[in-house]
């Protein structure tokens, strides 16, 4: 058990950090609040270092049954943890001076932020549906509250209530999907669902449950990654939430949701023929998402809202690769290496997209001085003259999101589109849509840059003076530039993580099942029906 707790050190550190921060809110010592952001950033750094130590170790396995059934700590988990902890680190530092300027400096903010990071980490490490769901809920609950954290603002309340209602609906749908998965296999293991479907000796009822489960899980994850037609909460929630929290939603939530989505679909629905041709559905969804996200972003004058629509478009590019992966895995001649290459491209894209968005929202949050809430193009006008560093990092991140060549965004998009074209040439139409979408996106990404560099000040530009935020922004910008200059290094890492993505190879649940010799196909409901029939 101690061995397992050591392996889960990053998760342990963050859980302890959350508890410490929660208790720090009520200790009657003055001045603790000023340090809480930095303490959380320190905790994230420690957890990141622990993750980095794990990275070199080959073949890490949890030993005790209860842990091994629920969680996995392979390279895929470590890679996702590293991204999530980086996001947590940057958001904590950016918030440190943002909160007092926005008159919402309550300690609970950092405790909730820490809890949401714990949830994300549990979600991407889950080997089993309930762990995934609990991680998802810990993350979501904390973020619902954080969305409405600025209690004096109507927009913040609106964001919170919209995100809460639609988010809990999505969670409910996903839970129903999990229930049907349980109905198919009689266990909650993700790998068991894939195993049962691959076995091919399922009854008609179990087959039907699996299909229903597939549809419900697809809808649930589409909500979380904000794919059309389940995107409607995104613009309002992103616009109204405090800017650092919008950054967390656009990066952390998306990374966790996409990784969990990949895990579940590769493992459970990857190499089997399902009644519903899900890769085709995902492909159409991706197409609609890319077109809608890019077109809607054009008309936005509020930069946060523009980035919300652009994050929808980016979810579309990712879904395109997921669709290609799905089509690919269903081919009989498919090799694991090719699937790994596609998954690796998705993970690399996630990393670069996450870091770029993190910088963009971090820089935007600095424009929230003097309790200012909406950040539109007028606020940015002429900012480059007075605040060259902030303008520069914001420009770099926006150019990277647009995919301009020397930056990491270009390599991420290139490797994603290339992987799809090489492995699934029949999705050429979708790649064309993506390329056109990216071309359109350059227009709206360049607009804030033009405003900052080529316009005169519309009103005096005021930014929050924050050393902590500058440290976070410069570090993440350095990472973004480095991942653009040395992309192969990061691609190697993401490929290594991608090889570990599927949970199908070794499931402790299956091993336990084999030992006890329980037939996997029997569902609870079916055995009841069988009893009933035989008694008659």
């Amino acid at each position: 058990m101690l061995h397992d707790l050591m392996l889960l050190a990053p998760l342990d550190i963050m859980i302890v950090m959350s508890i410490i921060l929660l208790l720090a809110c009520v200790v009657p010592v003055q001045g603790t609040r000023a340090f809480m952001g930095r303490v959380l950033a320190l905790g994230c750094t420690l957890a990141f270092i622990a993750t980095a130590f794990m990275w070199g170790e080959p073949d890490l396995q949890l030993k005790s049954h209860s842990f091994a059934v629920a969680l996995t700590v392979g390279p895929a988990t470590q890679f996702s943890w590293a991204i999530i902890l980086l996001i947590g680190f940057a958001i904590a530092l950016v918030s440190a001076d943002h909160l007092p300027a926005q008159k919402m400096d309550h300690g609970e903010y950092y405790a909730l932020l820490s809890f949401s990071i714990v949830g994300m980490m549990a979600m991407v490490a889950a080997r089993e549906f309930f762990t995934l769901f609990i991680g998802l809920e810990i993350m979501s609950m904390a973020i619902y509250v954080l969305c409405g954290f600025k209690r004096s603002s109507v927009f913040s309340a609106e964001a919170a209530i919209k995100y809460f209602i639609l988010g809990s609906l999505a969670s409910g749908i996903m839970l129903l999907g999990i229930a049907f998965a349980y109905g198919t296999t009689g266990t909650t293991g993700i790998a068991d669902l894939g195993l049962a479907l691959r076995g091919g000796n399922l009854s008609d009822a179990a087959q039907l449950y699996a299909t229903i489960s597939l549809v419900l899980l697809l809808i649930g994850f589409a909500f979380k990654v904000a794919a059309v037609p389940f995107h409607s909460w995104t613009p309002d929630a992103y616009e109204g939430a405090p800017t650092p929290i919008t950054g967390l939603m656009a990066t952390g939530v998306k990374v966790a949701a996409v990784v969990a989505f990949l895990r579940v679909f590769i493992t459970a629905f990857g190499e089997v023929q399902t009644a519903l041709d899900w890769p085709r559905v995902v492909a159409y969804m991706a197409c609609a998402t890319i077109i809608f996200g890019n077109l809607a972003a054009i008309g936005q004058s509020n930069v946060k809202r523009m980035l919300a629509y652009s994050s929808i478009a980016h979810a579309g590019y990712i879904l395109m690769a997921v669709a290609a992966l799905g089509v690919h895995m269903k081919r009989p001649e498919a090799t694991p290496q090719e699937a790994t290459e596609l998954t690796g491209a998705i993970l690399y894209y996630l990393l670069v997209y996450g870091v770029a968005n993190l910088i963009a929202f971090g820089a935007l949050s600095l424009f929230g001085a003097r309790n200012r809430e909406d950040i539109d193009n007028f606020v940015l006008s002429g900012a480059a003259r007075k605040h060259p560093v902030i303008a520069l990092v914001l420009s770099i991140s926006l150019l990277s999101l647009a995919g301009i060549p020397p930056l990491a965004g270009f390599f991420a998009k290139f490797s994603l589109f290339r992987a799809v074209l090489v492995h699934e040439p029949e999705l050429l139409w979708l790649v064309l849509v993506s390329v056109l979408g990216s071309a359109v996106s350059a227009y709206y990404y360049l607009r804030p840059i033009v405003r900052m560099y080529m316009y005169a000040e519309y009103e005096p530009v005021r930014v929050i003076r924050s050393g902590a935020a500058h440290v976070a922004l410069l570090l993440t910008t350095g990472l973004l530039l480095h991942s653009g200059l040395a992309p192969t290094r990061y691609q190697d890492m993401s490929n290594r993580a991608a090889a570990d993505m599927s949970l199908a190879d070794s499931s402790p649940v299956q091993e336990a099942k084999k030992k006890n010799d329980v037939p996997l196909k029997a569902t609870a409901l079916e055995s009841v029906q069988d009893d009933h029939l035989s008694s008659r």
């Binding site: 058990m1 508890i19 929660l22 208790l23 809110c25 009520v26 005790s64 209860s66």
Partner: protein, 126 residues
Amino acid sequence: MNPIYDPYLPLGILLLLAIGLGLAIIFLNGILGPKRMSKEKSTPFECGNDPGTNPRQRFDVKFYLTALFFIIFDVEVVFLFPWAVLYREQLLAGNGWFFFAEMVFFLGILTVGLAYVWKRGALDWE
């Protein structure tokens, strides 16, 4: 003398008896008991807010908090039940300390929550 009857018959009789007794007590109470009504006594719930008014009326957020805390700590007990049922089995399997530590950890986190709520003053009615 061993009449064949449905094994569920005693259960049916018990059901009838229970319903009959319940009804009898309610009506006998109404017939025999003294009646000194007051406004408070005639409400369905003697504590809490008046149920017979306009539903759009505002009510104190404290009720909501109390209900929420009740649910949280009630659900905690629900988690304790399956744990207690399985404990003996796990103890015999040699997992006793691990199983015990898990519950201590769970309760510890809940205690932190309680400490937070307490210090925040959410448990004070005024």
